[in-house]
Amino acid sequence: MPHDPPETESPSHGAHVGHLDDFHTPLTYWQTLEIAVRELLIEKGITTGAEIAAAIDSMDRRSPADGARLIAKAWIDDRFRRKLLADGSAAMTEFGLNPAGLRLLAVENTPGIHNVIVCTLCSCYPRNLLGLPPDWYKERAYRSRLVRTPRVVLAEFGLELPAETTVRVHDSTADMRYIVIPQRPAGTTDMTEDELAGLVTRDSMIGVSRASSPRGFRE
């Protein structure tokens, strides 16, 4: 029944806020392939429509907010901070987050050291903690240049580092996925864990920015 409108749109369609509507626009070649591959996998008993919907929901639920809560916990709880540094995946589990195979390695910024993450060979990213990576993380400019001129690249993100700070670049070449523990901003002594988590941006956990300063705070 070509060209008949679907009787009902799928339950999944519209259930995911924030993605673009592609239901009524002409299919590209690759979208046609997506339909074919998906239907073949279902016909072969490899998956089901419900499993695909569940996988999408699972990914949608992962976001930088999870990483931010983990960092805030490390800022206020030194035992947890040391655990996060020693075994990131175990710390995730203790915190109630499911690593789902993710081998997490946390690296910590200090007054003298700034860490930043890249994957030059593809675009490895701690997606089971932070969700899907931003576009710029996957593109040529970042992947090519960060390992050679990290200070110039960080400046393009608005982060100027003093010469006396050591920059440590981490190239995710194999099994580990990285998260930066940014420095806890000044003026946050009285903040709650939830308030602190609100200062931890995605970019600060990749290492291309600092954590945000609390509203109204001036150095």
């Binding site: 030059t120 060979l121 390992v147 050679r148 001129t149 990290p150 200070r151 110039v152 010469a163 050591t166 920059v167 440590r168 670049v169 981490h170 190239d171 995710s172 070449t173 194999a174 099994d175 580990m176």
Partner: protein, 100 residues
């Protein structure tokens, strides 16, 4: 030069090989010398997994290089560092950092 079985603080050199096939050792590190930052234990060799083959167990290391070692002393900041994960079969032991 021996088959590398390094420990943290050992100096290791990345083999300057370029086999045409799937590998995980970035080009810019080949032939460069660094310090083992930590051992990550055994893992399956992705160079075999990539072809759908049964894979050998290989040891994985995090190796720290100075920017001066990788790019030369006139690089952006010679004392900045780069850490990467390198599989044991890509490493040669230069000298141990262990007290002996």
């Amino acid at each position: 030069m021996t088959v590398a079985n390094p420990k943290p603080a050992d100096r290791v050199r990345v083999r300057a090989d370029s086999p045409p096939g799937h590998v995980r050792t970035p080009w810019y590190l080949r032939g460069k010398t660094g310090i083992v930052e930590r051992c990550l234990g055994p893992t399956l060799n992705p160079e075999q997994l990539a072809y759908g083959l049964p894979a050998n167990s290989v040891k994985l290391y995090r190796v720290r290089f100075t920017m001066a070692e990788i790019w030369g002393e006139y690089c952006e900041a010679p004392n900045d560092t780069l850490d990467a994960e390198v599989f044991s079969h890509w490493l040669e032991l230069e000298e141990t950092g262990r007290a002996s």
